[in-house]
Chain length 236, copies 2
Amino acid sequence: MDTTTIFQHGTLGLLVPGLFDGTITAGELLTHGDTGIGTLDGLNGEVIILDGHAYQAREDGKIREIQPEETLPFASVHFEKPDISAQLALTTQADFEQQVVRDYRLTNVFAAIRVDGTFAKIKTRVAPRQEPPYKTLVAATTTQPEFTGEHVDGTIIGYYAPHLFQGATVGGFHLHFLSNDHQLGGHLLGFEVEQATLKVQHFADFHVHLPIDNEAYLQEQFDNEAIDHAINKAER
Amino acid sequence: MDTTTIFQHGTLGLLVPGLFDGTITAGELLTHGDTGIGTLDGLNGEVIILDGHAYQAREDGKIREIQPEETLPFASVHFEKPDISAQLALTTQADFEQQVVRDYRLTNVFAAIRVDGTFAKIKTRVAPRQEPPYKTLVAATTTQPEFTGEHVDGTIIGYYAPHLFQGATVGGFHLHFLSNDHQLGGHLLGFEVEQATLKVQHFADFHVHLPIDNEAYLQEQFDNEAIDHAINKAER
């Protein structure tokens, strides 16, 4: 079991022009990691993978477990083995991110970020399911349902990536959330920690698997600048 | 032996501000592939890896075999198993690149490119060895020795990478050359094929290994735009 590598299927960039068709099964994805994040075929919600189980936060607010035969256009996973564990005092997301990058020297290093605990405030959003012919990522996510909670027990999971890899993935933080009672989840927009445990896992290796048998992927004419702008708009 | 993955140590981006210290040994690198390209510690020339042997093209025009304990700041390797083999008629580099991308549908796919044959013309350049404190890549490569040959038997080896990965590596083609008699080598600036065999190997997987124990790497404040411009200037 390789605990030094992030495995990523697809690129964030391929979502930008609307390549939302699933190109890896959840079953196959979970052979590459037990923990991670992603989205489902058709940009159908937000995926949270914890302890070998993959969950979908849907646009109606419901959380369900994903079946092995379901497919994803984009996901990042790893086998969990944190090298840092620390207690978090009261903090907001902006302070948290600055502090984590500085304290654990993440600037140019891939890392998994996991925070388990009680959150005074949580705010998420969930990408709404799209039908082909697909719109662009920015058009598809212009209006998204948002969900909020107070004094919620749950887990933040996701990644920090060096900004050099913006486009291949999200440069900086890309975090999802799932509450312990599976009543609240999605792409994390903001939070305040009440008390929680932070776990950080540094990676020397980033492994990208591309859908090179997918006709739409082969044909797409990507534009790096458009991808950069779209990620900053849609994934922050 | 994994023939579906390109293994890359370091990023092209880290060379841009001048992180030229070697951070992987040639011996370790060759466990990840028998074929590839790179540069040595101190930006000392151009590395060409063929059939499990790593060679250095030096700024004085000499070619020598690299020893296992020598180190590299950046290199890409793979285990050779081409999926395409084709005869090349008379062609120039510009025509060649356009044709290969189109015929073998490379636009968004990583591929190894190998051309064995006789070249009517070959032009290479070789990065000159630097001493710490290092200059930037652009400053270090402002003046570089160039080498030319006519009716040369040899091998072009290198990669095509999707432009989304510019910065992590060179977006587009990055090709080196080594003559059969080891009298001419370096970073390829131009060529005309007399007659040659092209081999293309498509990869679904790109694996980047970062020097996360290197203090200079951890501390560097990279600038994506500067990296993009510098690669276009120094690596074309």
